[in-house]
Every structure is written in C-alpha cells, then in structure tokens.
C-alpha cells in the first residue's frame, strides 16, 4: 500500500500477544431508541463495550437484535440516544455532522453486504473514490488505488466495471475501497451474505489478512457462524444487550 503505512505494517501484527491492549472503541451506557410512528423501539439499552485495537470482532445475534445499529454507532453513521462513544481517540457524541463525515473518511472503511460499488465507475475508479476527498494529486490517488487492488488480488481487473465482475470480485473491490484511505477500523456488515461459500471464504481470508498483516481492527456483523469463526472475538447481541 502506498497510503501512510502506520497501520499496515505486517511486522506489527504480533502486538495482540501483549498483555496491555488499548481499546480503539469504547462505548459507555449507550442507548438507542427509534421512534416508529407512535411507537418507541429501544434497540440498544445501556450498552457498555470496549473493542481492542487490532482485534477482529464478529457481532452475531438474531435479526433486530441491534447488531447493525451498534456497528453504525461505532462507525459514526448514527448517534446514540444516550451514552458516550469514543472511537480512535475521538468522542463521536460531541461531533457535528461535518466533523463526523471527515472523521469517517479518515478512520473507517466500510464493507457492505451488497458491495455497493458505483456501476458507472471502473474497479480502479471505485477504489479511488474515497481519495477524492483528500488533497492527494490524481497520480498519487491512482497509485494508491492500484496498490489496494493489488492487495485484494485484482490488479488484473483495474478497468472492469462492476457488471463485468463476479460477486466475490465485486466484494474484493469494495474491500480495496475500504482499505485505500488506510483507515484504522474496517466495519463490515454481512460481507459474505450475498456470496457462495467459496467466494465467502476468499473474502474472509482477505479480512483475516487485513487484520493480521495490516493490523486493521475489523468489526463484522454476520449471521454466519462459519464466518464468525474467523474472528478473534465473537460477541452476541440479543434484545439490545451483549450476552
């Protein structure tokens, strides 16, 4: 990767064996209530959580248990009704929408179940997309995007459009897009949900590699026990509480 290498060095991968691991995300008394018409739905209720830096966590639980809501809160996409959220040294609850957007661009890489690539852009352009928000020159952006695609094994598909790629390849482009701005945390919402077993395993191998070699903290929501097995920590949510 041509991006700042601080979080990508494979040499630092052994830190997890150290006894003192700092938390990259710290949630205290987090409560999230949704208003649906006249009904108030409490999705998370006084949740406390610490996510160790460099961990690979799987969040499991039944539908409606609050997994995605928790992921969205940690990723700065949503705000808690009550409680505090501190991620990568920033108190998200105090940030404005603009500050959150800038913080997300720097800190979080997103992987979605449906890949969500821009159909009008090539693989290379899709990966370059988050870098358009930086002041990097075009040549440097392109170089970093190529590097990210090489990391996910798609250097031979740079100029293919999403419709010309398989589901697994599309998800790998999405991972390269998540990786290109060298974020500290990668959040993945059911990243293997739309894939066959073989492609899912490839994606999970890749996530594992990002965690181990590049020291990315990975938070993955999944229903799939097979996928969760790859994580170093598995957390279960049920009715808004960790069990």
């Amino acid at each position: 990767m041509a991006a700042p290498q601080g979080h990508l060095s494979p040499a630092e991968g052994a830190y997890r064996s150290e006894p003192q691991v700092r938390a990259i995300a710290r949630l205290r008394g987090v409560r999230k209530v949704f208003q649906r018409g006249a009904e108030r739905i409490t999705v998370l209720d006084g949740l406390d959580l610490e996510v160790p830096d460099g961990s690979f966590e799987a969040l499991m639980g039944p539908s409606g248990s609050g997994k995605t809501t928790l992921l969205n809160l940690i990723a700065g996409l949503d705000r808690p009704t009550a409680g505090t959220i501190e991620v990568a040294g920033a108190n998200l609850t105090d940030m404005t929408d603009g500050e959150l957007a800038r913080w997300r661009a720097r800190t979080i890489g997103f992987i979605f179940q449906s890949y969500n690539l821009m159909p009008v852009l090539t693989a290379l352009e899709n990966v370059e997309l988050p870098l358009l928000l930086t002041k990097l020159p075009a040549a440097e952006r392109r170089k970093r995007a190529r590097t990210a695609l090489r990391v996910v094994g798609l250097e031979h598909r740079l100029h293919h459009f999403p419709r010309q790629l398989s589901g697994g390849q599309e998800q790998r482009v999405a991972i390269a897009r998540a990786l290109v701005s060298d974020p500290q945390i990668i959040v993945a919402d059911e990243p293997t949900g739309d894939l066959d077993r073989h492609s899912a395993d490839e994606i999970l191998d890749l996530l594992e590699r990002l965690n181990k070699e590049f020291r990315k903290t990975i938070l993955m929501v999944t229903h799939d026990p097979h996928a969760a097995e790859r994580a170093t920590i598995i957390r279960r949510l049920d009715k808004g509480a960790l069990t």
Binding site: V120, L121, L129, P130
Partner: protein, 388 residues
C-alpha cells in the same frame, strides 16, 4: 477520475432515459427558438427601421389616400431632404390567388433615393426606368415564383380590378433586414394612368427622409401642421413609430407567443426535474454509501445539480443544432418567400440562440434544485437500508 466526471458518468447511466430527456429538452428549445424567432422576425421591421425616415398617412386610417399635391408641400418642409410616395396595389397571381405577396406602386424617380437600402443592379434599374410596365421583384419572390428578368407576368388587381401586365425589369436585394424581399414594386405612373379620372392622383402614403434623425418628431409635427386646416389631415411619425403602430395591432398575438415560449420552458423544466428526481430516488443507496465514506451533503447536491446542468446543456445544444437547419434553412426560407411582408427576415438571431442555451442550462439547474436538496438531506442510515 474526479467529481465532475462522476456527475457526467451518472448522466449517461441510463442512456435510453437520458437520451429521451435530452431529446425532450431539445424539442422544447427548438420550439422556444422558433417562437422567439417569430417574435424577432415580426419586430425586425421596428428594430431595423431607418432613424431618418418619416411616414405620413391619412390622419384617420391607412386605407384612406392623400392628394397628390401633398408630396410637393411635404418636400418643402424644412428638414425634409427627400420624399417619395406609394400606393398599396393588392395584386394577385391568377395562377395561385392564395399565394400572398406585396405589390406596391412607387414613384420610381424618388423611391430609391428614400429607400437606399434596396439594392438593384444598374442595368436592371435602367431597364426599369425605361419600361412603363416594368417591375422590380425581391430575390425571395423571384426564387419562389421562378421569375427572371425579362419575364412578362399578369397579376389580378384586388383593389384596382382587372388584369395588369408587368415586365420583370430587375431583381432587388437589400442591405437592411427589415426590407421585405418578396415584394413587387412597379411604376406609380402606370397605375395612375390606368385608373379612371376620379381615382387618379392619390397617394397611399408618403415617406420622407430628414436631415437630422434627432429632429424626426419636430419635423413630423411640422408636416402635420401644414395640413391641419385642410380637408385631408395627415398623421406623420418616424418609420419606427409607424411600424410600431402597425405592430400595436398585433401586440396581443406577440404577447401570446411570448407566453407560450415561457410555458414551453416551464414544461421542459418539469420533465427534466422529474427525470432527475427519478434518478436520485434510484441511487439513494449509492448516495448512502458516498455519505458513509465521507462525502458531504454538498457533494451529493453538487452531483445532482451537475447532472441537471449537463442534461440541460446537452439538450439545449442539440435543440440549437436542430433549430438552425429547421428554423433558418427550412422553415425560414419558406416563410421569407411566402410571408415576407410579415416576416421579412426569418433567421435565428444569435441573442435568441444564446438565451435558449443559457436558459436550458439554468433551467436544468433549477429543475434539479429539489432533487439536489433531497439528496443532500438524505439520512445515511435510511439510505443504506435501501440497499437490500
């Protein structure tokens, strides 16, 4: 890759829909250009009117004649350097009586002194002066009728009944757009001498040239003052005012054309707005992803506004490209040949072309304002939920 390129790519995402939208905008722009050209062409006689010419007619109405002796008195008014007169003849081609063109009897000795924007080759002019039945025809009329110098033609008089023979002495062009190039001019003497005694020596109207264009109002008053205590009183005004008074009768039509041209643009804007709103709705999830990875609401608004601008611009450009061959070459030629008296110069004026393109672009942006506002206000979580 850059942000404007993303907007361009989004425009071309659904090519069929985009093509239809661009065609819709193009047709609207074409209609706008056509209607504005109608208005322009109608008013060109006013805009291009000579500033140093005064028209004098019967005070009551155009159709009542003036006594011939008035011409000499008008010529003697201080400030008047030349004067000519003419009568509306109202001739028709018996082979095609529905084919309208102006036929006017003029005083051949003074006519081209007052109307020096009319260009006649010297040999044609000489031929005309020599031939009592000679006539000058505009190049547009000659082309339409297939007339050439030397042809003998017969017209039927509607005001002065009977069959009238004319010889085509020459073909005129003009250096000013306001000149109708589909008129037939002939000798007033030929008309006058052919009329019964009681109808002779009357003038339809008089046109004078003045030494100082700034004094047209003053000289007009002086002319009318000459005839104030006569049986036949006059009304004089600058050529521009004369044309305007004629235009005044058509002002309601021109206003209606103006309104229709605006309505067409509003319809275009609504069609464009609907298409862009549809595109934004379809891309809600993508906008959610863009917001998630750090794009700001203003980025999304800019994408949508950019799409509107590009679509408007492409439609406007296509509309203009179509309007030149259709309005100027096809329809314009036909109008000039067949309706030259009303539309002497039916061409797309460049300010109209520039206005149409600018309006297409601006309306493209205006049409995308609400979709852009909606895209900018998208809640990220709600937008991301639209993925599944």
């Amino acid at each position: 890759m850059n942000l404007p390129l993303l907007a361009v790519r989004n425009v071309m995402r659904n090519r069929f829909r985009t093509t239809l939208t661009i065609c819709g905008v193009a047709v609207a722009v074409l209609c706008f250009v056509l209607l504005r050209t109608v208005v322009y062409s109608w008013t060109v006689a006013v805009d291009q009117a000579a500033s140093d010419r005064i028209g004098t007619r019967h005070k009551i109405t155009f159709i009542m004649p003036l006594p011939r002796r008035y011409i000499d008195e008008i010529r003697s008014v201080p400030g008047v350097t030349a004067a000519t007169w003419m009568n509306w003849f109202g001739g028709k081609d018996p082979k095609n009586e529905r084919d309208f063109f102006a036929t006017i009897a003029v005083d051949s000795r003074s006519f081209l002194t007052v109307y020096d924007e009319i260009v006649v080759p010297p040999e044609d002019l000489e031929r005309w002066y020599q031939d009592r039945k000679g006539a000058l025809v505009g190049d547009a009329l000659a082309k339409k009728k297939g007339w050439k110098v030397g042809d003998r033609i017969t017209l039927v008089g509607t005001i002065f009944p009977g069959e009238w023979e004319f010889h085509i002495s020459g073909i005129y062009t003009a250096t000013r757009k306001s000149v109708d190039r589909s008129t037939l001019w002939f000798h007033w003497d030929y008309l006058n001498e052919s009329l019964p005694e009681r109808l002779r020596d009357t003038l339809g109207w008089v046109v004078s040239r003045v030494s100082d264009p700034a004094r047209t109002a003053e000289i007009s008053k002086a002319i009318d003052a000459r005839f104030e205590d006569r049986d036949v009183q006059t009304l004089s005004m600058s050529e521009r005012a004369l044309n305007l008074s004629f235009m005044g009768m058509l002002s309601a039509v021109l206003t209606a054309v103006d309104i229709v041209s605006v309505v067409i643009l509003v319809i275009m804007m609504l069609i464009l707005g609907n298409t862009i709103a549809m595109g934004v709705r379809e891309r809600t999830a993508e906008y959610g992803v863009l917001r998630a990875i750090g794009f700001w609401p203003r980025h999304l608004a800019a994408f949508v506004l950019g799409e509107g601008m590009i679509t408007g611009l492409l439609g406007g450009a296509l509309g203009l490209l179509l309007s030149y061959p259709i309005v100027e070459q096809g329809l314009g030629r036909w109008v000039e040949e067949n309706m030259g008296a009303l539309f002497p110069y039916f061409r797309v004026p460049w300010p109209t072309a520039a206005l149409a393109l600018t309006l297409a672009l601006v309306l493209g942006v205006v049409a995308s304002l609400i979709p852009a506002w909606r895209a900018a206000r998208l809640d990220v979580i709600t937008a991301l939920r639209r993925m599944d």
